[in-house]
């Protein structure tokens, strides 16, 4: 415990006293209470605003945030927890200069750049070990923090960071990242309203999702929320696919519509297969089983990829149904 505090003390030492007053931040963050740790972080952010810091600052920030957000360490009052991860998202918001976003996004690429800065920030190996050892018991949030944290080890920074960030990206990283970002509640809700589209850095290294104010931040509800958002996203896609689904509201009725639609489609396949069988049978060459369609209502054009349709047209226009059998054979032959 003391080591951590000591680390943080070092943290504060490293951040030069360029910290502008917190009142500067008051406008975007009306709820931002004063806390010396938080002020450290905001000072970093303010640096970013006025003078873009190297990416190491972002790492520092995340490290600090991860420290704060780890419940197993138990050192932080729970009031701090919501605040710090939201700092993580400041670069995503309109506050910092936009060039920082690509910087943040390049967190894997510029490993060498951060290496030196982060190394000095990470302090002694004790701090490193301390951060790495606690298992990521909290699930996704912990994973993210531990991932960022473990990159503090200066030696393997380059590969580790790249590896982990690739892991973040490649695995179902969206969920993890979302849940990490969702760990904070509160102020960022308002900022989210202002900057709804800045959730994704241009290089799409990770996606942050705004958490809503006052929602629980434990890992279970985080993953639950991520899961629910995935499901609602897919429901939206389904609603676009199924005609007439936009009119109903409510997951149950949408699902009903979808179920009905699938059943209708399957029945249609059966019906059409019976029809096709009837049309193709050699008995029906003289019988016109189905009312002849007028040529104007051709449905060829609606389905684009049928090669034979234009070719069989010349067949069908010329002959009657007694040639149906040969037409069909010819059409199929031509196609294949």
């Amino acid at each position: 415990m003391t080591e951590i505090i000591g680390f943080r003390g070092r943290y504060m030492q490293v951040c030069p006293s360029r910290s502008p007053p917190i009142s500067e931040l008051k406008n975007p963050l009306p709820h931002f209470p004063k806390c010396h740790r938080a002020s450290t972080v905001t000072s970093l952010l303010d640096h970013r605003r006025s003078d873009p810091l190297p990416l190491g600052a972002w790492n520092r920030l995340v490290v600090d945030a991860s420290l704060h957000s780890r419940p197993s360490l138990g050192m932080d009052p729970p009031s701090l927890m919501p605040r710090l991860p939201e700092m993580c998202r400041f670069p995503m918001l309109g506050m910092p200069p936009p060039e920082l976003v690509p910087r943040v996004g390049r967190i894997g690429g510029d490993a060498s750049v951060e290496e030196s800065t982060v190394t000095e920030q990470c302090g002694g190996s004790k701090g490193r070990r301390r951060r790495r050892d606690p298992p990521s018991s909290g699930g996704a949030t912990e994973d993210e923090s531990s991932k960022f944290v473990s990159t503090c080890s200066g030696n393997e920074l380059a590969e580790a960071e790249a590896k982990r960030l690739k892991a973040i990206k490649s695995t179902d990283g969206n969920d993890n990242i979302k849940s990490e970002a969702e760990a904070s509640s509160g102020i960022c809700n308002k900022l989210a309203a202002q900057n709804p589209q800045t959730t994704e850095p241009p290089k799409q290294d990770y996606i942050h999702v705004r958490a809503r104010r006052g929602q629980a931040t434990d890992s279970h509800s985080l993953s639950e929320r991520a899961r629910r958002e995935k499901i609602s996203e897919r429901m939206k896609i389904l609603q676009d696919l199924v005609p007439g689904c936009n009119k109903v509201i409510g997951k149950a009725s949408v699902l009903d519509e979808i179920i009905n639609y699938i059943q209708a489609l399957q029945h249609q396949v059966e019906f059409l297969s019976m029809k096709l069988e009837a049309v193709n049978s050699p008995m029906n060459t003289t019988i016109e089983v189905f009312p002849s369609k007028d040529f104007s209502s051709q449905r060829y054009n609606t389905t684009s990829s049928l090669a034979y349709s234009s070719q069989t047209r010349e067949y069908e226009q010329g002959s009657g149904t007694e040639w149906l059998h040969m037409q069909v054979g010819g059409a199929f032959e031509r196609v294949t």
Binding site: I231, Y261, V269, L272, E277, V279
Partner: protein
Amino acid sequence: MESKSSTTGNRDNPNRNLHGSKTMMASHFLRALFRIQQTSTSSSSAGRSRRIRRAAYASMAYSAGTRRAWSRALLRKLRSRARLRFPRRLSRAATPQRRDMDQAQVLRKLVPGGPSMDDCKLLEETADYIRFLTTQVRLMQTVMDSVSS
């Protein structure tokens, strides 16, 4: 087989590009139809329609490839020569209570490969399945029209 590059007009979303699969679906289905027509001149009409239906689902699954869980399950079902089970028309009347709590279960019965998926994946596979099903139905209708007119 020449590839059709004409636009459909209703499927211009980037993640719903079915052009390649439409071509494959059409060629596979037509080939299967031709085969059925040639080989089963004397079999019963029910058997032929069953075969045509099976060919429809086969071309659907074949053009979807093995990327999708539903197409894999469908191909498995077709290859094992099991009877393809489809919702009978009477079952709709048999279940008046439509708003059952286990809509996901109903959906799982409909979509091939359903029972072995979690809800999230189920919705994804449902969307893909619907896309391919609509394409297949449209294909069959076109074949129908061109053959009968």
